[in-house]
Structure formats: structure tokens, C-alpha cells
Amino acid sequence: MSTVPTSAEAPLVCWNCHERTLGTHFCSNCGKLRQLPQGTDYFALFEMPRKLWMEMSELEQKFLRLSWKLHPDNFVNASEQEREVSLKRSSELNDAYRTLRDPIARVEYLLAIEGERKEGEKKQQAPPELLEEVFELNESLDELREAKASGEDLAALKAQLENAEKNFQEKLGEVDGELQATAREWDAVLTGDSATRKKVMAKLNELLNRRSYIRNLVTNVAKELTEV
């Protein structure tokens, strides 16, 4: 078994040999599979910088290599504890891959580990213009639903719905374009001062919020369309 050196994490004590170890995946001392050091984020797990642009083939290769190393099949004859670690590590690895592979989930995750994603009770209020717009779009969708319920001309209704879908898709495309541009901005200020980083993250956060409203509209209109 080889050890994978890590730069980001402080040495921790190995569960098996009780020595301080530097390996991210395997103990640099006894070679046993390690528990993921606390505070290791998904980027660090793949030994990648916290950049939003990634080479998908590189991520995939790293994932395949790691999943091969951590796979429970390799530990059938190992101690129960090591088998458990392998299971846990494999499932963490899958979560990490799923998250980083998806460009939107990746941004959400980045903001979460940087402490800039406002969720739940500490949510951020969306700008009033956006709420007005979303509310109106929802209302127009509601009108279409009512028209459907009252059995109005289905062909005309379908055309309207398709039109609405196109409109929402376009908006989603716009937001995704802005997200991509802002992601590039983030990569450029990765090592910059914290004020600049915070500004870019606030922008990313706002775009994610906007995106979730529009994504809902897209989903809702698509649902109506399948039922026409």
C-alpha cells in the first residue's frame, strides 16, 4: 500500500498504530486505511485546489483510482474496524465525487465550506425585483393551470406552456452563463485578499438563489406540459 501525502492537514494519530501520521488515505506509519482527517473537504480529498473550474477527466481518474484503493473488497480479510473504515471512506468518496462532478453542487459546496452559503434560518433575502418577477411568472403558470382545469383549448394552452418553458429555460441559461463567468472570477481571486473573495462569493450565492427560483419554474412548467 502506498501513502498519499497531504499538504493541507495537520498530522493526526492513527487509529491502529497510535502514531502521528501524515497520510490522507493510509497511515504513513503502519499503512492501515485511515479515517478521513477531520475537516478534510472534498477538494482536499481529491488533492485539488478550491477552484470551480475542473478538468472532468482528471477528477474522474482520481475518483476511480481512489475508489479502487478504498473499496471494501480490498478489506475482506482485514479487521472489522478497518472494514468499517473502508465502507465509510468509500461512501464519503462517492459523496465527494457526486458533489464535485456537478457544477452547481460544486459551487454550493464551495460556498458552504467557505461559510458563505446562507441557508435555512439564516437565509438571505432575495432582491425584491427578483421576487416580483418570480411571483409573476408563477402566477402566469397558475393561470395556465386553471385554463387547463376548465378545459380550454388544449392546443393553444400547450403552445403557451411551451412558450413559458422556453422563456424559463432561457432564463436558466442566462443564470448558468453568469455562474460560469463568476466561477472563473473566483478561480482568479482564489489566492486574493478576503474582501475580494467574499465579494465574489456573495455574487455566487445570489446567482445560486436566483437559479433555484428559476429551476422550480422550469420543473413546474415541464410537469404541466407532460399532463397536457
Partner: protein, 139 residues
Amino acid sequence: MAYSDKVVDHYNNPRNVGSLPKNDPNVGTGLVGAPECGDVMKLQMKINPETQVIEEAKFKTFGCGSAIASSSLATEWVKGKTVDEALAIKNTDIVRELSLPPVKIHCSVLAEDAIKAAIGDWKKKHGVEAPAAAETASH
């Protein structure tokens, strides 16, 4: 996840759905949203400027069952209350009444925000920033 009976009841028979004339000086409108789920909630109240009593309340919510139930309950609760009493409604009261699970707490926060936003809008129309009591005194 299973919704509580009260949530289901409000969802199936939402109270006070609709809208009030936005430009009526006695109507306050609150429009709030929860980005994490894409829900939007509009809550409107007609408030008597003499008595400060909320005479009518309407809502329209685009969102999940809990968001609809929270706003429906909010309109029921604020009706007949004074502005100050309505401002005292906390999201935790809504959570308790509807037995909302932790993942749906933000729906109740949304409803509380909507009440505050609607009253804030009404106060702005009346040019009051100060506590509502000052408004009564001037009449």
C-alpha cells in the same frame, strides 16, 4: 416525509387565498422568498388606521405544502389582531402549531418574514417608522 394532519388540512383547504388591492393605502403587502427551495410567498393585510386592527388578510404562496400551510395559518392568526400583536407572532409558534419537522422550519420563517414585511409596507405607506402606538395617538 409525512406531513402532519394540520399541514395537510391547510394545504387541502387553504384559508384566505387571494389578493387585496396593492395600491389601497390601508393594505400592506409582503413578498418574501426562500432561495433554498425556490418558494415565494405573498401576504397582504388590510389594516384599519384608526384601530390598528388587521381586518383582512390574504395570501398566495408558490411552494411546498409546509409553506402553504404556514402562510395560511399566518393569515388566520393575524386577522383581528392589532399590528403589534401580529408582529409578536414568532416562527416557532407556527412550527409548534403545525408540527413542522426541522427541514421545514424555513417555511415558518418565511411566514414570519411575510407578516413583518406586510406590516412594514403598511407602515411605510402611512409614513410611520416609529412604533404603531404613535400613529394612533395622532388621530
